[in-house]
Amino acid sequence: MTTGLAARTAPGRPAGTPSPAGPPRLPRRIARSRRAVAGLVLLAALFAVAFAGPLLSRWGWDDTDFTAFRQGPSARHWLGTTQSGRDVLALTLRGTRRSLVIGLSVAVLSTGLAGLVGTVAGFAGGRLDRILMWGTDLLLVVPSFLLVAVLAPLLGGGALVPLLAAVLWMVGARSVRAMTVSLREREYVLAARFLGAGPARVIVRHVLPQLASLLVVDASVNVSVAVVAESGLSYLGFGVRPPDVSLGTLVAAGQGAAPACPWPFAAAAAMLVLIVLAVNLLGDGLRDVLDPEAGPRRGDR
């Protein structure tokens, strides 16, 4: 009873206090998922290193050490230097920072857009649905990679995130819509509508929670796709412009010399792998936690 009223005062998000009668609330359940915790810890570590690391390093990412060109790891340069004498560690951290920010903000933007367009189209049905899906399909057939490659240099560096988000949301929106359409006919959604709940409330209370695992998977895939796409664009010279660096430009710059001097290439590639790994672990873990039919919650009978 009291738990019911407590939850009512803060609708949508479960309250943090675990109730004595029922299963634990969301944060507690996340804490129980090994994968989610591993992903979360790894991601936090990456952020910490990428943002705090440069403060501890003697070298800035744009500093040039004219005494050391293309050197291996040493006490002076932990991961060596590039051909032009820049510190590989500092460059990699800088690149990680760029890639992390781009990946996460693109994922949040595109998945948010997918969720919005998908639920509105699926729930509204009729003409609005047809118009929105028509637009979605139209964007799907546009060669998105080329579009970003052409537009990004024209619009400047800040446009990269919105541009990537704008070409990544469509597939997600389609599956969100499909699921919303089937959810709309569920009896408990009908029941809520016939109780007098408005469309916004029904979507937030009854539809979105069911879509949560789908959205999380979509977002984690989008992080990987965005990081890789940004790297790809930068590699081709359309993304992050020199002298600034991202993991993509680092891989591009490092790959030619990789056989002789693998450090710049290997460090950037390893970071790329770690980011994608962390996000996918977290996504998998969250999906299991959010799925109502999944394991541990069953135990509360």
């Binding site: 738990t3 939850a7 029922g22 809520a192 929670p209 069953r298």
Partner: protein, 681 residues
């Protein structure tokens, strides 16, 4: 001659408790054994174990002998030679049991060929013969049709034809009529009877419907928690049940027979899926006559009557008088109210129409036809009364309900709730009106949000209207529907079906509505749980004075709860009136046929009934017959002379009163009603 002998059959899925625990029975040639039980009683596991179709992780022990030949422990290849030839099976869902891409004739012919080695032409000819035997019109032509071109009843006939293709020794039928409407169920049971006569096979009929068993089976075996708790000749068991569970099942059935509407007693609690090992009788927690001796071990069946009537009960002394076992709950008396005519109208529907356009093509959408789902119906519901909408599936009853719930302008006609025309409502007024009109859905497993706690579900109506639930209101509502305060913190998946439905009812009652729309509220529940939910609904109506619009296909349930009943056929109301009049003296031939088709859970009454079965299936809803829509299936029309029949062919009958008596309000839409005005019975 005993054909099928089962002894001590036990089915155990990999780690858990056994689904079937030591079941044994004999079935003779031409004999029908009815196996009844509620969901989770192990009856389907028993059927699959007999034919050897359980998944590989299931362990089967005991013995199943068909004409002396042991089947348990045989390899799948060996069993395949027996299945389909000597031992046949009819499944519940004929759509998934037939291969969708092959013509049904070929599928039957294949069954013939596998076992007899006949040539294709000979097997096809035999298939046509069999289809004709099970009553499929135009068998030679229909043999070339694929399963989706058949209706549910026709598909089940095809399944039966396939089952009897090789003159089986025994047929196992698992809920063969559960997915079908009553009128079609009656037809299929007749076909099964004919198939039995033609082959002389022993039949094991598995069902949850005690009415079907009463009419069809010779012996009955009642299963509970994997054990056979009572078995014996059908008449004997129905008349003198001795196991408290059987007594409860029989008493919890709503009846519409001559004895009138005796109130059924509910058997509380859920059927336990997992009885504790060595915990004694599994029914003990629900049993009103349990004694200390019930614990310890499973009771062995003891002889309690003639012809091998056995019951697995320790305390059979206490069950000598079945009526005394389950105390009837106190009925909530119906407070005296002014006569119907003087009570306020809560819901008024007039000429309501809902047509679904059918479109073809994707790019250029062309209108390909119209489904007349609801085609001009009218009725009113007054305070504190229950109107039931009944009819077969596809008759438009649920569409009508949804159309009322929308509280919006209908395609044609009008809906007025509490005197307010829904077509003229502004959004704010409509939302306010929703507080007075609430709904309870059929399936308690899908009508509650699986991610919300019971307390949140029940409080949701308040939140939806921007209100705060008054303190203690959730507890009060839980109490009102007979749930414990502790249930408030649970999620729906931690509740049984009956408990979930109670939560659904509590949610509907939260805002104290004046009108409750119930869409088959007990159809998804086991009979013993049904009685409890019906009691609850009846009590609430009597106490709170709510009006119910009750959509159902089960005429026995309707007879119990409704004051008035409207019978629908193809989007129209063909007959409406008080329950006593409509059930006692049906005027429309369709009502008569529906009532006839309901199997009575009483072997003596059921076998004595004289019935005119309804022919065929519902016509294509996009092209109803001209004139009277019921014409194509009407037994009365078939017997009319040419002049009278012309009226049915040319004029769509309008509802008209069946009696000049002022007290009567029975109306029927028929040119040649069964009970003519003033003609008495």
């Amino acid at each position: 001659m005993t054909l099928l002998v089962v002894r001590d059959l036990t089915v155990r899925y990999a780690p858990g408790v056994p689904a079937v625990r030591g079941v044994g029975f004999d079935v003779g040639a031409g004999e029908v054994l009815g196996v009844v039980g509620e969901s989770g009683s192990g009856k389907t596991a028993l059927a699959l174990a007999m034919v050897g179709l359980l998944p590989p992780d299931a362990r089967v022990t005991g013995s199943v002998r068909l004409r002396g030949e042991e089947l348990v422990g045989r390899s799948d290849a060996e069993l395949s030679r027996i299945r389909g030839r000597d031992l046949a099976m009819v499944f519940q869902d004929p759509l998934s049991a037939l291969t969708p891409v092959h013509p049904v004739g070929d599928q039957i012919a294949e069954a013939v060929r596998i076992h007899s080695g006949a040539t294709w032409p000979a097997a096809r000819a035999r298939a046509v013969e069999l289809l004709d035997l099970v009553g499929i019109p135009g068998a030679a032509r229909r043999a070339r049709a694929c399963p989706h071109e058949f209706s549910g009843g026709m598909r089940q006939r095809v399944m039966i034809a396939m089952a009897i293709a090789n003159d089986p020794v025994a047929i196992v039928a698992d809920e063969p009529t559960t997915a079908l409407d009553v009128t079609v169920q009656a037809q299929v049971l007749d076909v099964l009877k004919a198939a039995k006569e033609a082959t002389g096979a022993a039949i094991v009929l598995i069902t949850h419907d005690l009415g079907v068993v009463a009419g069809f089976a010779d012996r009955i075996m009642v299963m509970h928690a994997g054990r056979a708790v009572e078995s014996g000749p059908v008449e004997e068991v129905y008349r003198r049940p001795r196991m408290p569970y059987t007594i409860g099942l029989l008493q919890s059935l709503p009846r519409m027979g001559a004895a009138g509407a005796a109130r059924p007693a509910p058997v509380d609690g859920a059927s336990p899926e997992a009885p504790a090992a060595g915990g004694g009788c599994a029914f003990r927690p629900r049993c009103p006559v349990a004694v200390d001796a019930c614990g310890g071990r499973d009771p062995e069946p003891v002889l309690v009557g003639p012809s091998g009537h056995t019951a697995a009960c320790v305390n059979t002394e206490a069950t000598a008088d079945p009526d005394a076992v389950f105390p009837l709950p106190d009925a909530v008396p119906r407070p005296a109210r002014p006569p119907r005519r003087e009570r306020p109208v809560v819901l008024e529907v007039d000429g309501l129409v809902r047509h679904h356009p059918l479109y073809r093509g994707t790019l250029l959408r062309r209108r390909a036809g119209t489904v007349h789902a609801v085609d001009g119906i009218g009725f009113d519901v007054r305070e504190a009364e229950t109107l039931a909408l009944v009819g077969e599936s596809g008759c438009g009853k649920t569409t009508a309900l949804m159309e009322i719930l929308r509280l919006a302008r209908p395609q044609r006609g009008s809906v007025a709730v509490l005197g307010q025309d829904t077509a003229a409502l502004r959004p704010a007024r409509r939302k306010a009106l929703r507080r007075d009109v609430q709904v309870v859905f059929q399936d308690p497993f899908t009508s509650l949000d699986p991610r919300m706690r019971v307390a949140d579900i029940i409080a949701e109506p308040f939140a939806a209207h921007g209100l705060r639930a008054p303190r203690g209101r959730v507890r009060e509502l839980l109490d009102l529907v007979g749930l414990e305060p502790a249930h408030a913190g649970r999620y729906p998946h931690g509740l049984s079906g009956g408990q979930r439905q109670r939560v659904g009812i509590a949610r509907a009652l939260a805002l104290e509505p004046r009108l409750l729309l119930l869409d088959e509220p007990v159809a998804a529940l086991d009979v013993s749980v049904q009685a409890g939910v019906m009691d609850l609904l009846e009590g609430l109506r009597n106490r709170l004075g709510i009006a119910y619009l009750f959509v159902a296909h089960d005429l026995a349930v309707v007879h119990r709860i409704a004051d008035r009943v409207a019978v629908m056929y193809m989007g129209r109301i063909v007959e409406i009136g008080s329950v006593d009049e409509v059930y006692g003296r049906p005027a429309h031939p369709y009502t008569r046929a529906l009532l006839d088709a309901v199997p009575l859970p009483d072997p003596r009454l059921e076998r004595r009934r004289r019935r005119v079965p309804l022919r065929g299936d519902l016509p294509d809803p996009t092209a109803p017959p001209a004139g009277c829509r019921f014409r194509s299936r009407c037994p009365r029309y078939a017997a009319l002379g040419a002049v009278d029949a012309r009226r049915c062919e040319e004029h769509d009958p309008m509802p008209r009163p069946m009696s000049t008596d002022r007290e009567s309000d029975q109306w029927a839409a028929c040119h040649h009603p069964l009970a003519e005005a003033g003609a008495g019975s």
